[in-house]
């Protein structure tokens, strides 16, 4: 027990005001810091570089946004990434939602094992997941490429989908389903007409999260890729010479798409009359 410093109780209004400003200004500064590399990325997507070194500001141009589309060395890996993200999102969202339903709706032996199986891949260092998959491919003599990347992405996405959809199912009002039953709907009809529409926002968030995780993944992909290039792998490869402006262009475009996507989600939630609750953004943690 330290003695109470009485000075705090008799703080001058000025000091009080300063201490009130301290936390908000710190938060503001931190937000600026968080956006520093993003700001540089956006600025340099408009840079007109001399040669390949995109390091100093040379002048404004929109040319990078045009030249991007002619460069198949950039667009091809992007198309691979989009394909893997789209397919792995669909598969993982379906499988993950099924697991979430099983875990919240039924009691069965082995729940603890299932929970572990979902929890560990989410928390283990990514390099471990990637490396262990590599040993599987090598031991089984599987050629690494598009399919092995896809398998890996579905694997790490399932857990995130389960957690996101389960959060939605836990707060679910079962009486709505019972009302459906009372009105002579059979189990199947209740599921498709009542349950699924109600948990759909959760499924959508899960799918968006899975897509974002997949399109950004470098570590796990690296170990399953063989010679196939995804966008992050390609960026890493060319970056030894400095960042080509087109990389920043694509980064900026992805950033804009993310903002629009989030905007839509918020708008959808407002329209649905629910306030966004604080726990939801936590599912958007990006690896």
């Amino acid at each position: 027990m330290t003695p109470v410093p009485t000075a705090i109780h008799h703080a001058t209004p000025l000091r009080e005001r300063l201490s009130r400003l301290l936390l908000p200004s710190f938060t503001g500064l931190l937000l600026l810091f968080l956006f520093a590399p993003i700001g540089v990325m956006i600025a340099f997507s408009f840079n007109n570089p001399l040669g390949r070194q995109n390091i100093t500001w040379q002048g404004f141009t929109l040319g990078n946004y045009v030249s991007l589309w002619g460069r198949s060395d950039i667009t091809d890996p992007m198309i691979v990434s989009l394909g893997i993200a789209a397919i792995s999102t669909v598969v993982a969202t379906i499988f993950g939602t099924m697991i979430a339903l099983a875990l919240t709706r039924y009691r069965f032996a082995g729940t603890a094992v299932v929970n572990l199986l979902i929890f560990i891949p989410m928390t283990a260092p990514e390099i471990i997941l990637g490396a262990s998959l590599l040993t599987l491919w090598v031991s089984m003599g599987v050629e690494r490429g598009f399919l092995t990347i896809l398998v890996a992405h579905v694997m790490f996405n399932i857990s995130f989908v389960v957690v996101t959809v389960r959060a939605r199912l836990v707060g679910f009002n079962r009486s709505l389903e019972e009302a459906g039953m009372d009105l002579y709907a059979d189990g199947r009809t209740v599921f498709w007409k009542v349950t699924l529409p109600l948990i759909f926002p959760g499924i959508l968030s899960a799918a968006l999260l899975a897509f974002a995780l997949s399109i950004d993944d470098y570590v796990i992909t690296l170990f399953s890729a063989g010679r196939t290039l995804t966008f992050p792998l390609w960026v890493f490869g060319v970056s030894r010479l400095g960042i080509p402006p087109e990389v920043n262009v694509l980064g900026t475009l992805i950033f804009v798409v993310a903002i629009v996507g989030i905007g839509f989600q918020i708008w959808g939630q407002r329209r649905g009359g629910r306030s966004t609750d604080g726990a939801e953004p936590i599912t958007m943690v990006v690896r």
Binding site: V4, P5, I8, L23, F26, T27, L31, F33, L34, P37, I38, V40, M41, F44, I55, I94, F95, M98, I99, A102, R105, Y106, F108, V114, L117, I118, P121, A124, P125, I127, I128, A131, S132, L133, T135, L136, V138, A152, M155, V162, A212, Y218, L222, F223, V235, F236, S239, G242, G251, I254, A258, I262, I266, T276, G278, P281, I282, M284, V285, R287
Partner: protein, 285 residues
């Protein structure tokens, strides 16, 4: 008939996703364990000789690397906590109607690819880049100052990249705190500092623990930061860099697999000790 169907339904729901996780997460872990116990070379093939000696061997050779990875990750975790706590606190207690918007702003930069973000940091922090180049030109820094490829730069990069992993769980924990408890403490003549440390902070401990684990575990296995911001300087390498090189460049699979397992075991021991130390009863809060 009906009860049989009810009994089968959860199994059918679990089957596709569960088998995927078993086949491509659990089984590969077993393969990696077996691979670590094999001997041979990439060209002649590996044979299972139950060579447990590989474990003392890699620990003896790489213990300093493990220590460095752990200390980098610990420093980054401590920094994210020190920086993230005031931010989570401000948003939770003073965010008002902007709470969710502010949280989104915190995670927004992380929608840009990890690789692109880290590369842009390398550009900002380059010896003659926009930050240090400027400070050198106005004479604040000596011309030979450099930051990239130093241990501090790697810790910096880790701290930046994993801040949301700390801020979000902290926010969730702090937001849940019943603020009447803090009022009660001040009514009972606790100073603001006392009320914070003995009420607010204690009640936010679940978030502190969750955030620390969510930050420490991925940082300790990270290798991109040391590769990019550490500029591939072997003196700032972490365990991940060696694992990655052994798996993908030198194809020394058994040693790489053994290193991976030591990393997993070390992380698990640390997590167990840490959660025991804090007390699991506080975690459930």
């Amino acid at each position: 008939m009906r009860s049989l169907r009810r009994g089968l339904t959860p199994l059918l729901l679990l089957l596709p996703g569960g088998s995927w996780l078993i086949a491509f997460f659990a089984v590969p872990m077993a393969f990696m364990l077996l691979l670590s116990l094999q001997q041979g070379t990439f060209d002649t093939g590996y044979h299972l000789t139950w060579n447990f000696g590989i474990y003392p061997q890699v620990i003896g050779k790489y213990w300093a690397l493990f220590l460095r990875s752990a200390s980098f990750a610990l420093m980054a975790t401590a920094l994210t906590l020190a920086i993230g706590y005031p931010v989570a606190y401000t948003i939770a207690f003073h965010g008002g109607r902007l709470k969710n918007a502010l949280l989104l702003v915190v995670v927004l930069p992380f929608f840009v690819s990890f690789v692109i973000r880290t590369l842009n940091w390398r550009m900002i922090l380059a010896d003659n880049g926009m930050l240090f180049g400027f400070l050198k030109s106005v004479g604040i820094l000596r011309p030979d100052f450099h930051f990239l490829a130093t241990p501090a730069s790697v810790v910096f990069g880790l701290t930046y990249n994993f801040l949301p992993f700390m801020i979000l769980p902290l926010y969730v924990a702090i937001e849940k705190i019943d603020r009447r408890l803090i009022e009660a403490a001040t009514d009972l003549y606790a100073s603001r500092a006392q009320a914070f440390w003995r009420v607010t902070f204690v009640l936010s401990l679940p978030g502190v623990v969750a955030g620390s684990l969510l930050t420490f575990i991925p940082t300790v296995g990270d290798f991109i930061t040391a590769e990019v911001i550490g500029a591939g300087n072997p003196e700032v390498f972490m365990v991940g860099n060696i694992i990655q090189r052994k798996f993908l460049d030198s194809l020394d699979y058994p040693a790489a697999a053994a290193l991976s397992f030591v990393l997993v075991a070390a992380v698990m021991v640390l997590v167990i000790v840490y959660t025991r130390l804090i007390g699991s009863d506080r975690l459930s809060g």
